[in-house]
Every structure is written in C-alpha cells, then in structure tokens.
Symmetry: C2
C-alpha cells in the first residue's frame, strides 16, 4: 500500500462519485479544472452549478507534495521534511430545502520520514431535520464502521459532534456523522492497508446514501418560508466553514487554490438580524435537534 | 477625560449617526436591542433592514468591563486585571450596487492599572470603484487627520491597506480608508484628551461623507449583471469578516453577542465558482483597483 496506490484509488472514487451524482441529478454536469501546484503536485476540481437537484457543489481531488514549511510542520506536530497529501472533498448544496446539504472528505498524509495518517468524515446538514432520515444516515455510517471495528462509530460520531459545532451559535452544523483523523498503525493497531480499506469504504458509503436522498426528496414541494430558512441555514454553513473548518482555514492560510477550497460555499446565503423561529414550527424543531449527543443509530 | 466621558460621547455619537442615516434613507428605521453582559457592562445594538437605501446595517454601541481572562490579556499584551472597553461600530449594506458598503469603528480600551489606548478606522467598499468617489472619500479622511497631525493620514492609510486585505484573493476589501490602533500618550505624544478629540472627529466624519453618497447615488439605475456583481462582492465582504477581521474573530471567540457582531453580514451574499469578469468591463476595472498603495488624497 503506497501513496501512488492510494492516490489512484482516490482519483477513481472521485470519478465514480461524479458519475453517480450526474445520474441522480439528471441535468447537472460537472465541469473540470485541472490545476498544478508550484511546489509540487496538483488536483482536479470538479464543480456542478444549476443542476436539477444540486444548486452548487464540488467533488474535488488533490494530490500535493513538497517541502513542508516549518510553521506547518510545527502545527502538524511532525519533523520538517517533504510531505505528500491526497484526498477527495465533497460539498453539495441542493436547490430544494427538503434535500439536505452534505459534506464528505477522505484524506491521506505522509512525511518522507515514514510517518503517515488517514483522516476524513461525512456529515449531513438537513435544512429540516427528519428523524427517519437522521437514523438512515447514521445507520449507514455505523454499518460501514462496524465492518472494520465496532469501536469506530461510537468514537467517530462523538468526534463529529465536537468538530461540526458552531460555537458562537451554540448549535451543531447539522445532524453530524463521523469524523476521524491521525489513523495509523501506531494509533489504531491496524496496518496501513486495513486503514486504507476503512477510509475507502467511508468514501464509498457517500454516493448510495446521498443519491437516495436526492431521488426521494427533490420533488417535494416547498414554499417561500422554507426557501428563506434554507438560505439562513446556508449562512450558518458559511459561518462554520470560514470561522472554524480546519481544512478551509489551513488551505487559505497556506496558499491553497482558493476557488477549489471555497467550492464549499453555496450559490446564495442569507443573514437576517436576530431571526426567531415560530413556536411549534418545523424550523424550531430543527433548531432543537442541532445538539451534540443525540443517538440516531442502533 | 475619563472612561465615563468617553462612553457618553460615543453613545451620543451613535444616536446622532442613526438620526442622520434615518433622515438620509427616508424610510428605514433603526430598531434597538439593549443587552447586558453577564460579567459587566452591555450595549445598545441598532439595526436597520429593508430601508429605501440601506438594505441591512447596524450602528452598534457597547461599553463592557470586567476581569480580563488570562488568554485575552496575553493576546493583548497587558497585565491581568480589570478591563473596560467602549466603542461604536457601523456596517451598512445598501440596496443599490452603485452605493458603496461602508464600515466605521472607534474604540477605547483601558486596564485598571492605568494603561489605555484608542483605536478605530473607516473604510469604503464600492461594488463599482469610481475614482472621483475614492478621491472625495480619502480627502475627507485626510482633512480630518490633518487637523490633528499631518503624519496620521499617510500612516493610517497604509495601515488600512494592510488591514482590509483579503489575502486568499490577493485583493483589498475596497478602496481602504484609515485604520489605527494603540493610540496613547506613550505611542503618540498627545495626551488622552487630544487623542479622544481625534478619534471622535473620525467618528463625526462618517455621517456627512456617507449620507452624501447615499443621496447622490441611490437613484442610479442598475441591471441584473450589476446586482449579481454586488452579491458576489458581498461574498468577499463575508470572507473578510469571518476569516480575517480581528474584532469579529475576537468577539466570537470570547463569547460576545453574536447577533451584534454579525450585523456586519449582508442580507444576501452569493458565490459563483471561478467567476470571471469580462475584458474592459466596469467589474474588471474595479478588480484592477482593489490594490494596496493607490494614492487618492492630495
């Protein structure tokens, strides 16, 4: 299991996911931007805008390498040297507020000295939380985790609750999912190939789960109140990504490709001063469920 | 010149600015939210939405005090103790893309040990940069600065260029203005009252300059291309405020009142992947002027 094999598998996953999303959308076509990084490596960004179901989104692949600058080495806690990093990142913002926003990322990092780790996660951000949907989503993640280690889902679910949290709003970004980082033989006891298989399985869990939501939900009617709520929730998504998301902030600070990093931002987001939900409304119910520690999977 | 006098003067300025803005808008009325801070002090937020000229904006006053937590003391470079901070903060997002976005802030900080400083700034973010307007704006700031010290404008103009800079876009937020911090007798040779007079003069420069722009520009026709460009520029404004603005980030991290801090975000902002301006267009011209180091004042 070397970096070339991992990179190739991630690249293949990107293309597979794109073809599944295009099939599910029916109209939206991804367009591709290949880019090179001056210091080494590059990526393939693929963006869809104005699909039938997806309003805006990206499925990005990158594989970059080069000398790690001292500040980055310090913040990652590794010895200076040459790094390699590859990953697939997805964010999709649908047109219909009844279809949830989704995010998925899997990544692999190594230093030329031999240190390495895998990281990643999936989380779902419904504009309107439906308990059935939350259970379906978390159960799918748990089933994937359980195939590899029964301890993963409970641990990575809590990690996602803590990570996808908008501190200044005291609310989670959505219903969470799983988040994990620094998986390697030392921290997990599994060898690199076993960990790779887990991470790739997480990546493969994304498309069937999300395309099912797309197909089942995109035809649901919605009104202006619901569209407005969707735009406000997207505002929260923007707040999370720009204020807290480590990948976004690290990427912007270290001179990553801005347009690829910020593909996660929606076509449109709104802010209304001190917006209050109505008592007993579905919006209020959603807010009440944007909490850590809810158990959705069996 | 004690903190109570400064606080009272800032409070009076807030009310004066609001009445001038309401007069210039003609329809928009500010609504007020008084809030208390658990550890001491509070503020008066005032927000306007759906005005004739102002789509969304805030003119906020606050005066907070209490024990400074060790982390904040360290990041401010002061000895632990009890702090007091008061200020007025303004951001206005107009309906018409021909009217620029504006920001103004003046602030005073002191520790119970006697250390103090003033800070502040004004900067203008036109969706379409007009050279005449940029000259008028900067000349007004220079005239205010020159009344107090001829060295202030050149220094504070450069400081604004550096501060209001969106690094990941390699562009300034707008045409800049002035920015200053840590003004006190030790750093500037002027006594507290003289510095207060300067800072208050900066605050008083805001309303006549901006209401003139409002009156002159709000009736200009605009088309869909121009509205769309405005929404994309607002997206950049959101990026600056959430990724870089020290006041915003410090406020969110230290448990400030989120709705008051984020009044700076527009009602609506858009992001389009890799948006390109047309050659020779006014949008391209604007981008070409979002640079540090342009001299607008005489």
């Amino acid at each position: 299991m070397n970096k070339v094999q991992i990179e190739e598998a991630f690249k293949k996953l990107q293309i597979d996911i794109i073809s599944r999303l295009e099939a599910a959308d029916g109209i939206g076509k991804f367009r591709f931007d290949e880019w090179q990084r001056e210091e080494g490596g590059g990526g393939l960004s693929s963006i869809v805008e104005n699909g039938k179901i997806i309003e805006k989104g990206g499925v990005n692949f990158s594989a970059v390498e080069g000398p790690l600058n001292p500040q980055a080495a310090k913040s990652l806690g590794v010895e200076p040297g040459v790094f390699f990093a590859t990953g697939v990142s997805i964010v999709l913002h649908p047109n219909n507020p009844m279809v949830p926003i989704i995010h998925m990322n899997i990544r692999y990092f190594e230093m030329d000295g031999g240190e390495y780790w895998f990281g990643g996660g999936i989380d779902l951000t419904p504009h309107y939380i439906q308990e059935d949907q939350a259970r379906t989503f978390h159960q799918a993640l748990k089933n994937t985790c359980d195939k590899h280690n029964p301890d993963y889902y409970p641990e990575f679910k809590v990690w996602a609750d803590d990570y996808f949290f908008i501190k200044h709003r005291n609310e989670t970004r959505g219903i969470g999912g799983i988040f994990f980082d620094r998986l390697n033989q030392e921290t997990r006891g599994l060898n690199k190939e076993e960990l790779f298989n887990f991470v790739l399985d997480v990546g493969k869990t994304f498309a069937p789960v999300y395309t099912k939501f797309m197909s089942e939900l995109h035809h649901l009617p919605f009104n202006e109140t619901q569209r407005n709520w969707q735009l406000l929730r997207r505002g929260r998504y923007v707040e999370f990504n720009l204020v807290y998301d480590r990948g976004t902030r690290f990427g912007l600070e270290t001179g990553g490709r801005t347009e690829s990093i910020l593909m996660s931002l929606p076509n449109q987001a709104n802010w209304t001063y001190d917006f209050q939900t109505e008592a007993g409304s579905p919006e209020e119910k959603t807010l009440s469920l944007l909490k850590k520690g809810l158990q959705w999977a069996k």
